[in-house]
Subunit: 335 residues, 3 copies
């Protein structure tokens, strides 16, 4: 594996999920693989789960880690090719990425969207430039439009907790929030859950349609109650508008997930990627009862990252001299 | 050992001090203990000594470390149960702590008091919530009311430097400062020094009485000169008022420790936990002469932390499913 | 080696360059040397290359590393001896340095100049105080006036890429910038390149003369074109005025390095220490073509640091109790 930025970067989701579940049983069985290898972990944005779970995953494999908080510890980066850099930016991403590539064997990077300019965000400008110039395997720790390590951990969690006697119904339901959030977790969940043998339904208010590159062939409804009916897993997540990009169109109905709504389900298990705004997105009692999978999802983040790192370390990878964008993200949703 | 947040968490102070002094002689003798174990180190507040000495202690034992600067690198935390999180806080401590517990084998945390609300600070709300939810052994790196690793290092330092022919006199003397500081170092020093075979005296100006849960049975005076008489160790430390909580009642006398005052002692050795406001709390010449123990105290912080980590790693600990507050801090000083 | 802050700290530049080039071929061959040794890395200022390459160098040698971002994670430091610390500074450098010395086996520190007070900057007040009090080997990660690890990496790069049939011509040419920068990289480059068998020329506009302690016996011109003629290596770097200290005297000619200017050279290779203001200091096409050595310089930073660390680890060093300033920096340029 050379990149892990979208499900399109991997050959087989099933195999990677199985690999991650196996590593959970034997976290230290491959600690020779990372000997004398360095993982660079770059944060353009804050992080708790990702920061700790990625370091832990690397350490489990015997890798060294170096963490770089770009906004605090480094320089302001320039992203525009050909820019005359006489303003606030101190270093071009092409230099920063290339330099980091010379120091690290694998690079993991978090770069959130601006939510101002849809075309720019959905072109994954920052991530792709980083990939283009660093010349090393790259793992997304959540980019402008996708969060694949979260989705891999989510798939592990569904696999571990699914009913054995039937195809489960999985509902992704929009939740209220106080500020505009990216669509990345929702987009990514769609990419991954579509590869699983489940019935998948998305519920969201009018105006909150996701990019249809991700939701093609998925049942979508604006009626949350209808979606929740007989659900086995309820994944709660806020996102801002894709259509009127980055805005929060007014919602009249109550989309806060509560006990009444949950009673419509088939005694469903609750999922959320965290951090969660308690009693705004979901009420406390649902987050804290024994049908809540939120901590299991968080725990699985370690083994999701470890599975990806393991496959990268095992590949006798050869980054082509001329970079080719392997994902089709750059083309997404810009028409 | 399951928690290290107060002297009440340990069985025997003498044994732990001896353990720490032994580790100082053989820092790398137990580097197998920490193999494949991760220490999470969480800072809600700045730190120099604690940051470096805790990492070093863990590395000496072969542990991996992950450091999290919460205010800079993570999210603003919510501490109130049942809060409707529609304000500035992004994640509830119950989720953050629980997630960190899944990633770490032991967690060390620094969380200073607000100095605004005595009841809240002395209930150790943040620390106890963290302990309640993280489900892993927890080490305090200075909480709202106590700083036990500092005190353990201080006890080591007294043990190493005490006179052999008599019971030493130890004086804790208040010192001036330009802003209100916590009572934590002073409270903790009382807890620990009371277990030692020493004569212990506290000197402070009127209005600076410490919580009497810590000072019961201790000789207390408002006359610094009287306290210093024949002292063997002089521990200098500022704290703000406990009675008129967090304020700095006016002090007319000169409490800056200088050569004249020190001449009243029995050629005493000087102690301070650092950082010290030079020439405000103590004059330079006393800090820099060969009777100053300040660097020895700082050095001992490594082995204090290492002794605690070692005992935690050796315990085949079992955190009860239902959390019980083992310390009596929550009850302290609230009457 | 006890200190690495200037070329005057080392016995033989040739040997150290060779050592670094050998480590590049066998980065992990000495990983036993750093076992149970701790490198403290202290940043008073932001850093990317230095942060990552220094950690990597230490890890290659099997050392533990602890990183301290002083301005963000620690306390504001006092640098004046005898100060009554009743202001904003929380800890005196003599205490902070001494404490860090007790925790670390080697300390690396970055401390930029103020560019306000030449005498203070050129006395290397911060670095020398740190060295004086920490009582451990110290590596400069760029001080007020010098950047020796950069220069060592630069010498490696010249060595690897020099013509074999003749003595190369090396030109250090001033470049435009939008704000005042230190003279450290230029000063240091002079110190080191003067030990090499090359023809060395410095080109800068009027008003940008460097301190002549560094430029003695060097050909200096205010005519960039003349300097570039037949050059084999062109090192581009901005610096602010040394004479009218920290200012940016007006420059009428165009000093931006472009293709036309480069065509005057002997098909020269381009050098820059990064970060570079693209199209302000040098145009893109020169930075991105295959005669650009900028990434090779950055890569060599790892092995430069590793060579210095290796020699320090190998020395059974003994820091004298009474600190002696071995470099002559303190005397520099103050007459």
């Amino acid at each position: 594996m050379k990149y892990f930025t979208t499900i399109n970067d991997i050959k087989n989701a099933e195999d990677l999920i199985t690999e991650a579940l196996n590593l959970k049983k034997d976290p230290f069985g491959f600690s020779h693989l990372g000997k004398n290898k360095t993982l660079g972990i770059i944060f353009m944005n804050p992080s708790l789960r990702t920061r700790l779970s990625t370091q832990k995953a690397a350490q489990n494999l015997g890798m060294n880690t170096v963490v770089m908080n770009f906004n605090q510890e480094g320089w302001a980066l320039e992203y525009n090719d050909g820019a005359v850099m006489n303003g606030n930016t101190v270093e071009h991403i092409k230099d920063a990425a290339a330099v980091m590539g010379t120091y690290c064997d694998i690079i993991a990077i978090r770069c959130f969207p601006s939510l101002k300019n849809r075309q720019e965000d959905y072109s994954e400008k920052i991530l792709l430039q980083f990939m283009k110039y660093c010349n090393k395997p790259v793992i997304s720790l959540e980019s402008a439009t996708l969060h694949p390590l979260q989705s891999l951990a989510d798939m592990m969690t569904i696999e571990e907790n699914k009913p054995t006697n039937r195809k489960p119904k999985v509902v992704l339901t929009w939740a209220p929030h106080i500020k505009p959030l990216p669509q990345a977790v929702a987009n990514s969940f769609c990419e991954w859950v579509k590869t699983r043998d489940v019935d998948f339904v998305i519920a969201h208010p009018k105006g909150y349609d996701l990019c249809d590159d991700f939701t093609s062939n998925v049942t979508i409804t604006n009626n949350q109650d209808e979606a929740l009916l007989d659900a086995d897993f309820v994944y709660v997540k806020n996102w801002s508008s894709f259509i009127d990009y980055g805005t929060m169109p007014e919602v009249n109905d109550n989309w806060l997930l509560n006990e009444n709504k949950m009673s419509l389900t088939n005694h469903a298990q609750l999922m959320h990627c965290l951090p969660v705004r308690r009693n705004v997105e979901v009420i406390d009692s649902l987050l804290d009862n024994n049908r809540s999978l939120i901590l299991k999802q968080a725990e699985n983040r370690v083994f999701a990252a470890q599975a990806v790192l393991k496959q990268m370390l095992e590949t006798n990878y050869k980054i082509e001299e001329k970079f080719t964008i392997t994902s089709n993200e750059a083309e997404l949703c810009n028409s």
